[in-house]
């Protein structure tokens, strides 16, 4: 099972996006500055946007989904129960997983954006997909919410999971690191080796690199362990 982007190009005015890369099962973290083309990559990879040139190929991928940064766009039901039903998941289980137990009859727009985001991600991650694309999954979430989403993402390691984010503090255990730089996709490789090539690395990773320490991965535990090494 793999997702291939072959000489993909897309233009918007003078801005140009181009990408070449192969995504296999595992967790792919794609970072980059605001406006670097992360959402465009998400739309092209989910085939919701047609490239101007090149090909986006699915090999063995039967089901795919994309979570937008703003959870409101996904709402089609007038209650959380209906909303969970539209994803084909059990409403009460989805509410429990999102920390909203017993609120199946509530209007989705009565929730805060963070609650709605948690609920929408819970609905998506409760199903099995071959390709999961999460555009800014950590936005609007508090620390606990981010950790819970990291856990759910890690449970889907057998799928191809694209985590597109500029989150700097709480990240899932990552298999492959990618970076968008001014509209161009760069494959940095697998961890921990890729960390030395990461231009938009979080401050903690940069600080460790300066001390000559490479964390094993990007989870909070990995970073803590690396910091402990720094202090002997």
């Amino acid at each position: 099972m793999r997702l291939s982007l072959s000489a993909v190009e897309w233009h918007s005015g003078s801005w140009k996006f181009d990408a070449d890369g192969v995504f296999t099962p595992g967790i792919h973290l794609i970072s980059g500055r605001v406006g670097s083309g992360k959402t465009t990559l998400a739309l092209l990879s989910s085939r919701l946007l047609r490239p101007d040139a090149g090909r986006v190929e699915y090999d063995g991928i039967g089901s795919r989904t994309l979570s937008f940064q703003h959870p409101e766009y996904h709402v089609t039901g007038s209650t959380l129960g209906e909303e969970a039903g539209s994803y084909g998941v059990d409403p009460s289980a989805a509410c429990v997983r999102a920390g909203l137990a017993g609120r199946e009859g509530e209007d989705p727009f009565r929730l805060s954006r963070g609650e709605l985001k948690r609920f929408q991600l819970a609905c998506i991650l409760m199903r099995t997909w071959d390709l999961i694309i999460l555009d800014e999954p950590f936005s609007a979430l508090d620390c606990q919410g981010k950790l819970a989403i990291c856990q759910s993402i890690q449970e889907n390691r057998s799928s191809i999971v694209l985590v597109i984010t500029h989150e700097q503090h709480i990240l899932p255990r990552t298999d492959y690191l990618w970076e968008m730089r001014s509209g161009r996709l760069f494959g940095l490789g697998s961890l921990p080796g890729a960390l030395s090539l990461w231009e938009s690395a979080p401050g903690s990773v940069r600080m460790l690199r300066e001390q000559g320490i490479t964390p094993a991965n990007l989870t909070r535990d990995d970073l803590m362990e690396a910091v402990c090494m720094m202090h002997g």
């Binding site: 409101e72 089609t76 539209s86 727009f109």
Partner: protein, 217 residues
């Protein structure tokens, strides 16, 4: 066309000319053909086609009830085409400049900022609609009639949220009424030519056709 002042004068002149007669509508159509790229993009716009279909239905009903439905369709169709084409050439800040130039930094600024925010809101709605359509496709659903209330509610909800944020932002910045703005307009030779043509078309539309052409039946 770059200069918003000339564009506004052209829009008003050509709308009146089109409303007055079929000859005015024909000449306005010819004026629109002078900007073929904008016209081509407008004709392809789903929003324009949607409104045109609605106008077409009204025209058919008018014709069937014994009135001049064809004339209504042609004139309203050209006015719509004109409005959509002019709207397509809008760039952010233009109506603020125009309004301040026309009415000054007090009332003009307030009117301008309200118009700018409304137009930006329309642009946002169009972008949001595209995103919502994609989200619906991802759920394996089709954009069908029963989803329209949910979609409408969602668009209103996001619009209200944005309006609240903008209102808060203006309040935090201390906005009460009026403001300073130095309007800047870029005027090309083409703008002037197009503006003169528009005024000429308006003048011609006041003259009966038989005074220009010798018609023999």
């Amino acid at each position: 066309m770059h200069d918003a002042r000339i564009r506004l004068v052209s829009l008003v002149s050509l709308s009146i000319a089109t409303f007055l007669s079929i000859a005015g509508a024909t000449l306005t159509m010819a004026w629109l053909f002078l900007s073929p790229l904008t016209l081509k993009e407008t004709v392809k716009s789903a929003a324009f086609l949607g409104v045109l279909v609605f106008v077409g239905i009204v025209a058919v009903v008018t014709q069937l009830s014994g009135n001049d439905g064809a004339s209504y369709f042609i004139r309203t169709g050209v006015i719509l085409l004109l409005a959509f084409s002019v709207y397509r050439e809008w760039y952010p800040g233009e109506y603020l400049d125009l309004s301040v130039w026309l009415f000054g930094t007090k009332a003009g600024f307030d009117i301008g900022i309200a118009v700018e925010m409304s137009i930006q809101g329309l642009h946002e709605i169009s972008r949001e609609f595209a995103r919502i359509r994609k989200a619906i496709l991802l759920k394996g659903m089709k954009l069908e009639f029963r989803l329209i209330p949910a979609l409408g509610f969602l668009l209103i909800h996001t619009h209200l949220m944005r309006a609240r944020d903008q209102a808060d932002l203006l309040a935090i910045r201390g906005f009460r009424s009026g403001g300073s703005c130095c309007p800047v307009f870029r005027t090309s030779k083409r703008d002037i030519t197009m503006g003169i043509l528009a005024i000429l078309i308006l003048s011609l539309s006041f003259i009966p056709v038989r005074d220009i052409f010798i018609l023999q039946i």
